[in-house]
């Protein structure tokens, strides 16, 4: 049953060193405030799971929180590269970053399997791609840890199996919760429901806590008994957006390209914006 607590307390209770953490939100409702709190609490050795790492994981990787990244598209949408992610993969800075790489369809289905209590999901995907092997073409790498073939017992067709994702903790941002801890999000709802249902624990930050949730079109509701912690964090997905509350700050996405290109400049950003900022 959801406990409504301050963000720092929620992160402190839910996220431990070494955890597998999924912060989701597909372009919309990215849980930046929660991610920053994880950096602020100096969590280490995390396995970071996310379809689109985006700026939020660029920041966590650059801050040295991550040991491993599980993902399907690691760019700055509409801008270009994630420089901290590239620096980690290409030059092991600030630490080597293990990667486990999928397509969107594969990652989405891994969460579906996790939410469904199944050990794997099945899809038409990956066949003929370098993703089938961990090491890419021309290299005798080990088999990809989470992709296998599976044969249809009716038709004999060969399909692709991906193993379930069951993170230790899922962190998402939503527009609202009610005072009982029932959570409501709407607009592009992405993979958040599956991430929360697949995870052992969950933290949901919200724009506001309201007495009661009114039904809305295209809304996903997570009942309070499926959520561990709810924390109010108004503006908590900036520079991403919260439909009905504020728009995406495209300038901030552009500006990140410069901030993140340079290790020193990134360090200053960390000091000022994360460690210098008051705790929520």
């Amino acid at each position: 049953m959801a406990e409504i607590v301050p963000l720092a307390e929620a992160i402190g209770a839910a996220v431990h060193d070494g955890d597998a953490v999924a912060m989701e939100g597909f372009t919309h409702l990215i849980p930046f405030a929660a991610g920053h709190e994880v950096i602020r609490q100096r969590r280490r050795d995390l396995t970071l799971i996310r379809m689109t790492p985006d700026l939020i994981y660029d920041q966590l990787i650059g801050a040295g929180c991550a040991r491993k990244l599980v993902f399907s598209w690691g760019g700055n949408p509409g801008v270009g590269s994630l420089h901290r992610f590239r620096d980690a993969v290409e030059r092991s800075w600030p630490a080597p970053l293990e990667i486990e790489e999928h397509s969107h369809a594969g990652m989405a289905n891994r969460y579906v399997a996790g939410a469904s209590g199944l050990p794997f999901a099945m899809l038409r995907g990956y066949r003929g791609t370098g993703l089938m092997e961990a090491g890419g073409p021309g290299r005798d790498g080990p088999q990809h840890p989470s992709i296998r073939a599976v044969t249809c017992p009716f038709t004999g067709e060969i399909l692709t199996a991906v193993s379930a994702l069951n993170p230790d903790v899922a962190i998402v941002h939503a527009q609202r919760a009610d005072t009982s801890g029932n959570v409501q999000l709407w607009g592009i709802t992405g993979i958040q429901k599956e991430a929360v249902l697949a995870a052992r624990r969950s933290v949901v930050t919200v724009e506001e806590i309201v007495p009661a949730l009114d039904p809305r079109p295209d809304a996903v509701v997570l009942p309070a008994w499926t959520v561990s912690y709810v924390a109010a964090a108004p503006g908590g997905s900036r520079p991403s957006y919260a439909l009905g509350y504020y728009d995406r700050d495209n300038d901030a996405y552009q500006a990140w390209d410069q901030i993140s290109r340079d290790r020193e400049r990134f360090g200053q950003w960390l000091d000022t914006e994360i460690f210098g900022a008051a705790r929520v």
Partner: protein
């Protein structure tokens, strides 16, 4: 007839050429950037019934300005339906319901195989690129794929460093052997013209060049021995109407 203004950018003629490839009433799985511009331009001009689908789960979306990400609010607010990310891939893309998929590329080979993962060795990359996203399954399952990419020797290579999305694999029969249900890439649209696969060999050949572009220039910027298709044509430049419509979108996107 509209006049053809001489000053248009490479992006503009690529976008217009791509838009013209989209027929009215079709369904189109759109990526961000030039594909999104082309699909929206087509809808604003000759194909008002074109159905735009983005991997963020927005189906039949009708933005009046170009979105900057595939998950902008405008896409949800103007959609016929908004569904979850697993649903968009499982119920909508995978069964082959979508007519056309649009893809970009960092590298592409003569069989239309695409790399958006790494330049160099996977485990010790020269350049780490964003990765797969929705592309592998778009390439596998859309009835047809259109690739938009600038033509350079760095991008148009004999062999891609990594196959992120399969075109025709190692040639005729590859897609069937892999069980890929869509027909594969039908066009590569570049800043020089259009390449299409040879029906026998599946190798991409030049089928159209923009006004003023020569086959030698195209060969110069291609890493494989680029053949001209029989009946190679000069492609019409953008019309004033098309350019005006496109510029209306791009201006609004910056507002």
């Amino acid at each position: 007839m509209s006049e053809h203004p001489a000053d248009y950018t490479a992006d503009e003629i690529m976008t217009v050429t791509a838009a013209r490839a989209l027929r009215d009433g079709r369904t189109c799985f759109v990526g961000i950037g030039l594909p999104s511009g082309a699909a929206n331009l087509a809808r604003a001009t000759h194909a008002p019934g074109l159905v735009l689908i983005y991997e963020s789960g927005t189906i039949g979306t009708k933005p009046d300005r170009l979105p900057l990400s595939i998950g902008d609010g405008i896409l949800a607010e103007t959609a016929d339906a908004v569904v979850s990310v697993p649903e968009i891939f499982n119920y909508w893309l995978q069964p082959g319901r979508i007519d056309v998929g649009f893809l970009g590329a960092a590298q592409i080979d003569k069989f239309g195989n695409i790399n958006t993962t790494v330049i160099g060795d996977y485990s010790d990359p020269k350049t780490r690129l964003p990765g797969a996203g929705g592309a592998p399954e778009i390439a596998a399952s859309c009835r047809e794929v259109i690739v938009i990419v600038r033509q350079t020797r760095r991008a148009f290579v004999e062999h891609v460093d990594f196959i992120t999305s399969v075109g025709y694999g190692s040639g005729p029969g590859s897609r069937e052997r892999l069980g890929l249900t869509g027909a594969g890439p039908g066009k590569i649209i570049t800043d020089l013209g259009v390449l299409e696969p040879d029906p026998q060999t599946c190798e991409f050949t030049a089928t159209g060049l923009y006004p003023g572009v020569t086959l030698d220039q195209a060969r110069e910027r291609t890493g494989w021995d680029l053949a001209a298709a029989p009946g190679l044509v000069t492609l019409p430049p953008p019309t004033a109407t098309e350019l005006a419509a496109l510029r209306r979108f791009t201006t609004r996107a910056k507002e």
